[in-house]
């Protein structure tokens, strides 16, 4: 028998292996594991993409996985297990008769992690999702490794006055005919309940809330606060959050705190989410940094 493999055959086999490998990578990105988890009385929709250290993505109010995280998932799932969820009433998760409070939504995230048998995860949240991420660190410290909070305050007064003044005047018709309404109708198990859903969020947004400076300060999870210089969160509130987590010290002269702050120039609450190419490398660096030994 000829022990030397035929050159042509080798090339052929290699190319098949390569294409299988590529197909595997591509399908790994395109076809997540999806499901509905029974948590908090909800049937909560989730997707799991990629493998590695787990990170949970929490979208903003009115949004779904598709609205906020499409481009992020492709990037983050290259090195991590990305668990994207749709919170109560949003996307494919039907609403129930329960307050849309930060506390409830945080408990849902903890419940999902239990359901998926994930002990601890990093959590990235935008806007409403950023507040929920902070609440996860406050209420479920053992489940949260690090938090990335994008454009979220920890009390209602942390929003700029214009944002808080806006809610009482707001009606669901504002979204009539917008892509947001179309996306709701496309995804929701109750497509004709868009007005109810919007009103439910409005009721939440009108309610005063304050997670407590002392409680935020007491959290163990390092936090990375990401904001725009024209953000919906007040700049002095951003500084307050960062200081509570040990920031605003002279880094050349002492060890750095593990929490971080980024403020992006010329950027608003909404345009922040278009700055993915700037933000994702910062987030990866934050999540990958090993805790310093004391």
């Amino acid at each position: 028998m000829n022990s030397k493999p035929n050159m042509k055959t080798t090339t052929f086999v290699l190319s098949i292996l390569l294409s299988m490998l590529l197909a595997g990578v591509v399908s790994g990105q395109q076809k997540p594991t999806t499901g509905y988890a029974p948590v908090g009385g909800l049937k909560m929709y989730y997707e799991v993409h990629g493998s590695g250290d787990p990170v949970v993505l929490l979208h903003g109010a009115f949004m779904a996985i598709s609205g906020d995280w499409n481009d992020w998932i492709g990037e983050l799932s290259k090195t991590r297990k990305v668990i994207a969820i749709e919170m109560q009433g949003h996307g494919r998760t039907a609403d129930i008769n329960r307050d849309l409070s930060y506390e409830n939504l945080a408990d849902d995230v903890a419940g999902l992690l239990d359901y998926l048998k994930i002990e601890r995860a990093d959590i990235i949240g935008y806007s409403l999702g950023g507040g929920v991420a902070m609440q996860c660190a406050i209420r479920h410290p053992e489940k949260v490794r690090k938090v990335v909070s994008i454009s979220a305050p920890f009390r209602r007064e942390g929003w700029v006055k214009e944002a808080n003044d806006f809610w009482p005047t707001f009606t669901w018709e504002v979204f009539k005919g917008t892509p947001m309404e179309a996306e709701y109708k496309r995804l929701s198990p109750t497509p004709d309940k868009f007005p109810d859903f919007v009103n439910h969020i409005k009721a939440t947004a009108l309610k005063p809330y304050d997670f407590g400076a002392d409680k935020l300060k007491a959290t163990k999870a390092p936090m990375f606060f990401i904001h725009g210089d024209a953000d919906g969160v007040r700049l002095d509130h951003i500084a307050e959050m960062y200081r509570l987590k040990g920031g605003d010290l002279h880094g050349d002269m002492r060890p750095h705190p593990e929490s971080r702050l980024a403020i992006l120039p010329d950027t608003t609450h909404v345009t922040l989410m278009n700055r993915m190419t700037t933000i994702v490398p910062m987030v990866n660096d934050f999540l990958d940094t090993k805790p310093s030994k004391q």
Binding site: V160, K161, F224, I226, D229, A230, D231, R234, L235, D236, A239, Y242, R243, G247, D248, L249, H250, G251, D252, M253, R254, H256, P257, R260, L261, A262, I263, L264, P265, D266, T267, T268, T271, T278, M282, D285, F286, T289
Partner: protein, 268 residues
């Protein structure tokens, strides 16, 4: 690739001297395009950052007593350094310029925008305060700063390059004058800051030697300003990893604002 080419290019550029008042001021010109003045930090000298040099006429200077510009009998003030730089621009027949100033150079840049508004189109600063050091340092930095003396302050990475290029090196003299200038600086007034016409990019690290509160104040005062805070970033990043900051600085210098000025947050 670009970095290597630019570095080679910068070594082959010959510096020049211009007489501005009693000062013989050293400067280098690199490339062609819209002018950009680079103002270095205290103890440093003309630094041409490749990330900023592309498609620009870059003018890098050595400020009074720094680098190749010999000191003269005159205290250091940021106003005087700004006037020196403005006089140099006049000599070079440059009517309007963009500026990037790092640390002390950022204060000189602010002084230029205040004292010579017609000269400045866009100004980017990093790690610079507009008030006195007592009012702008974070508490822990203030304590350390107060203990610094010209006799004890001698970081190798600053002292050695200075001694190599200075026409009349006197490290202790330089350190004494810099510390004096920092202690003597009373800050710019809020009115002066509000009157700045130039578009301004305020950059800082999240571990800086300018307090976050101070940076936010500055952003609120300057009418056309944008603010960038870089995560896990120190004051000395312009020496250790300049591109971390300069990518966004270049974006600003080339394109200015995208977001309407009205969206800027109102003063609290």
């Amino acid at each position: 690739m670009r970095n290597i080419n630019s570095a080679v290019q910068s070594m082959t550029v010959k510096g020049e001297y211009a007489s501005v008042g009693d000062l013989k001021m050293y400067y280098e010109i690199h490339g062609t395009g819209r002018p950009l003045i680079l103002l270095h930090g205290a103890f440093m000298s003309a630094t041409v950052y490749p990330a900023l040099a592309e498609s620009r006429q870059v003018i890098a200077v050595d400020l009074q007593g720094h680098g190749r510009t010999a000191d003269i009998e005159r205290p250091f003030t940021f106003a005087q350094m700004a006037d020196d730089t403005a006089a140099l621009l006049k000599r070079l027949e440059i009517e309007q310029t963009d500026i990037f100033g790092y640390s002390m150079g950022g204060k000189v840049g602010l002084a230029m925008a205040i004292r010579h508004p017609e000269l400045v189109r866009r100004l980017a600063i990093y790690g610079a305060a507009y008030k006195s050091f007592e009012e702008s340092f974070p508490h822990d930095a203030l304590k350390v700063f107060k203990e610094i003396t010209p006799e004890t302050f001698a970081p190798k990475d600053l002292k050695e390059p200075y001694e190599k290029i200075s026409p009349a090196p006197n490290w202790k003299g330089l350190a004494a004058k810099i510390l004096e200038s920092m202690k003597a600086f009373k800050g710019f007034s809020p009115e002066q800051m509000k009157a700045i016409k130039a578009e301004v990019f305020i950059g800082a690290g999240d571990h800086n030697d300018v307090s976050l509160e101070h940076i936010l104040e500055m952003h609120k005062l300057i009418p056309k300003s944008q603010l960038a805070v870089f995560p896990n970033t120190e004051h000395k990043v312009l020496i250790t990893n300049p591109d971390k900051v300069l990518v966004q600085v270049k974006e600003f210098l080339d394109n200015g604002f995208e977001t309407a000025a009205e969206t800027k947050q109102a003063t609290t």
